[in-house]
């Protein structure tokens, strides 16, 4: 069946004041929330995602040769500390001015030519992902402050029935990271460390751990509910 409607949530009727008990009471038909369609439930990408989700330019948030381009790289691990060779990550981020390639950015479109904001990388082979991008700028946090430079990441794989959401921050932004509302909301430095990419030869590196593996000293990456 296709889109159907969730049952409306009707205020529980308090009939104690009614003149005639048991008769329909004025007001019981009002909705407590807007009428909505039920959303389509997610499912796993399964093992054959590469058939449908491969883009020739997937890793190119910016084209080859773009001045200032960096590579974001990392590996994806499971709860045994083994590489996940059949997953995929997608990245979404602001440009170096902190603007998004999207009409709902109230400050106007991105100012960086050729910057599309999105990257997609399968973890084959060897469990490594890699996207070529520009380091994002700081983005307003909606409460008068600024977020630290960050990249939103979706993780997909066989064995995940919904996407996972995490973020990549940058180790050389210590001052900005220290005042970032999302990082500050995490319980401890060990949790924050799972989100902070370290500088590398051609950009930054951050491994993603779907689960922790104490035998190998790996912590589970912080994932977010959006």
């Amino acid at each position: 069946m296709s889109a159907d409607r969730l049952p409306p949530q009707v205020l529980a009727a308090d009939e104690s004041n009614d003149r005639r008990q048991g008769t329909p009471r004025r007001g019981t038909g009002f909705l407590t929330e807007p009428f909505r369609l039920g959303t389509t439930p997610s499912s796993t990408v399964g093992p054959y995602l590469a058939i449908g989700l491969t883009w020739p330019d997937g890793p190119d948030v910016v084209a080859e040769g773009t001045p200032g381009a960096i590579w974001l790289r990392g590996r994806v691990f499971d709860g045994n500390g083994d590489l996940v060779p059949d997953g995929m990550i997608e990245t979404w981020q602001a440009d170096p001015d902190g603007r998004f390639a999207h009409p709902d950015d109230p400050r106007g479109a991105v100012t960086t030519p050729g910057f599309r904001g999105v990257g997609r990388s399968h973890t084959v082979p060897g469990g490594e992902y890699a996207v070529r991008t520009l380091k994002p700028g700081r983005v307003p946090d909606g409460e008068g402050g600024l977020q630290a430079p960050h990249v939103d990441v979706s993780v997909f794989a066989r064995g995940l029935l919904d996407r996972l959401v995490t973020r990549i921050y940058f180790a050389d932004e210590a001052a900005a990271n220290a005042e970032d509302a999302v990082l500050r909301s995490l319980p401890d430095d060990a949790s924050r460390a799972t989100l902070i990419a370290q500088p590398s030869a051609d950009g930054y590196v951050l491994d993603i751990h779907l689960q922790g593996c104490t035998a190998k000293g790996m912590d589970e990456t912080v994932f977010f509910a959006v």
Binding site: M1, S2, L37, G38, T40, V45, G79, L164, Q211, F223
Partner: protein
């Protein structure tokens, strides 16, 4: 004013982990995810449109200069948000097994035939009213190693971006009345109140005489958060 997107209560969503689906065991995170407030990064998202697709991408039955084997079908519907608004100009990516239940993929090696004229990949962009349509063949069921005599019900994988990072959805579309639903943990991982939304509807009216059967499937992405009406003690809308 910036849009705010609805958060779906956990009981209406597919859980990331499901005991009956063994591969979730070492992959689904064990910790509770942290609530991420919806800020600019989350209310924006990839805008991927016409330049990602060609007209031929909507017809999976004509590849490599010939016709795919199998039951020709039309799969069509609308992409909506939960407020009922169409999601126009949105990329829809699909992939599926062939009529024999075999994927054109290096790790799918069960003994069912490949079809030289079927690669299983489709892409379209929704129109102004959020409509999409594919012509394809009905995928076959196939065995997998999850449990003894495990078979996946026929399904088509769908991937959608919507218009914001919060709306990203990857899911699977099923066909009505499949006898394999009962033993399939991936189907049964969906909440009982939601799984019928993953099943398409046979549509005789849209079936084309002497050509193809039609299945209709609407996809609903998360809509925008709206402030509930205030009600006073009498239940009147204030």
């Amino acid at each position: 004013m910036l849009p705010r997107y609805l958060r779906e209560p956990a009981e209406r969503r597919t859980p990331v982990a499901y005991a009956g689906y063994k591969s979730t065991g070492l992959r689904a995170p064990l910790r509770t995810p942290v609530d991420l407030p919806h800020r600019l990064t989350e209310i924006t998202g990839p805008v991927l449109g016409e330049d990602m697709v060609t007209a031929a991408d909507a017809d999976l039955t004509l590849r490599q200069g010939g016709e795919a084997q199998g039951q020709r079908i039309i799969v069509y519907g609308r992409v909506l948000d939960s407020d009922g608004r169409p999601v126009p100009h949105a990329l829809v990516e699909i992939w599926q097994a062939n009529a024999a239940g075999r994927y054109r993929h290096v790790v799918d090696n069960w003994p069912a035939p490949l079809d030289p004229h079927f690669d299983g990949l489709g892409r379209v962009v929704t129109d102004d009213l959020g409509r999409y349509e594919f012509t394809t063949i009905k995928p076959g069921a196939y065995p997998w190693g999850n449990h003894h005599n495990a078979w996946r019900p026929a399904h088509i994988h769908f991937s959608l971006f919507g218009q914001a990072f919060t709306q990203r959805l990857v899911t699977q579309m099923y066909f009505p009345d499949d006898p394999l639903f009962g033993q399939d943990p991936i189907f049964n991982s969906m909440p009982t109140t939601a799984r019928h939304r993953a099943v398409s509807r046979f549509d005789l009216e849209r079936s084309q005489p002497n050509w193809a059967l039609a299945f209709q499937w609407d996809i609903v992405l998360r809509g925008q958060d709206q402030t509930p009406f205030e009600t006073d003690d009498d239940g009147d809308v204030a």
